[in-house]
Symmetry: C2
Subunit: 119 residues, 2 copies
DNA sequence: AGTAACTTTGCAACCCGGTTGCACCGCGTA
DNA sequence: TACGCGGTGCAACCGGGTTGCAAAGTTACT
C-alpha cells in the first residue's frame, strides 16, 4: 500500500489531499491512506499544506526541503483548477514581528491562476 | 443579535471562531451566529482568517482594512494560547511568482508565541 | 388595530474531512 | 506450529460548517 501511495505521490505535479487520494484508489480504505500519509509525514517524506481549501494537501519533500521547523517555500493555490503547488524556488520572505512575538513557522499561500489555467 | 455579536467582536483582542462565539453566548443558535458572521463579512465589517487551527476565525476590519482583493496584513497564531491576532502593522511582503502565475490574494500566517505568553 | 410582506431566528438534519478503536490478516521468527 | 507484530478494513465518531423549513418578530400600509 505504501509503495502504491508513494508512486502516486511521486507522479503528481500538484499536491494531493486525502479525499483525492481516496478516490484515486477506490479500493483502499480511508483510514489506511490516512495512516500512510501520517507515517510518511512523520518520516519527513512528505509535508502537508493547508491551502484553505478545506482539505489538507500533501506533497513530496524535495532534496532541500526543510519543512521543520519552518516551512521554507511558498505554496500556490489555483482558484480555477483548485490545485496546489509547491513553489520550491520561492522562499518565504522574512518578516518583522512586533516586539515579544517569537517566530516558529510560517504558512504562506498565494492564490491566483496557475500557468496551465492561464488562457 | 447582530448588535450583541458586534459588541463581542469589538471587545476582542484576538480573532474569534464560530464555535468560540457559540459558547460565548450559550443562548443563541449556531446557525444564527453563522449567518450573522456571514452578513458581517459580506458587508466588509469583518474579515475571516484561516490560521490552520481547524476553525476559521473572524476579526473586525480596521479603518484601512482592504481585505479585498488581497489581504494586506499578516496574521499571527500563538501556539500556546491558540489565539490569532491581526498584525495590522505588518503588511504581507510582495513576492515574485514564477512566470504565468497570476496573483489574486495572499494568506500569510505566522505561528509562534505571542507577547502575553512569553515568560 | 388588522393584515400582508419581509426579515431574522431556532431547530434539525446533513455534509465532509479527519480521527480512532478494534478485530482480522499476513508474515517472519522462535 | 505457535507467537508476535505491523498493516489493513470497517465502522463509528468528532467537529466545523452549511442548509431547508417553519415559527417568531418586524415593518409598512390601510
Ligand atoms: Mn511544499
Ligand atoms: Mn486581520
Ligand atoms: Zn490551475
Ligand atoms: Zn499566546
Amino acid at each position: 500500500m505504501r509503495q502504491l501511495v508513494l508512486d502516486v505521490l511521486s507522479k503528481q505535479k500538484a499536491a494531493i489531499s486525502l479525499p483525492e487520494l481516496e478516490d484515486m484508489f477506490e479500493k483502499a480504505d480511508k483510514a489506511t491512506l490516512y495512516r500512510t500519509l501520517k507515517t510518511f509525514e512523520e518520516n519527513k517524506l512528505i509535508h502537508h499544506i493547508d491551502d484553505g481549501s478545506g482539505a489538507v494537501k500533501y506533497a513530496l519533500c524535495q532534496e532541500s526541503c526543510e519543512c521543520e521547523p519552518e516551512d521554507l517555500h511558498v505554496h500556490f493555490y489555483c482558484t480555477v483548477c483548485q490545485k496546489t503547488f509547491c513553489l520550491n524556488d520561492t522562499p518565504v520572505p522574512s518578516i518583522n514581528l512586533p516586539k515579544d512575538f517569537s517566530l516558529e513557522k510560517v504558512n504562506m499561500v498565494v492564490s491566483g491562476i496557475c500557468a496551465s489555467c492561464q488562457k
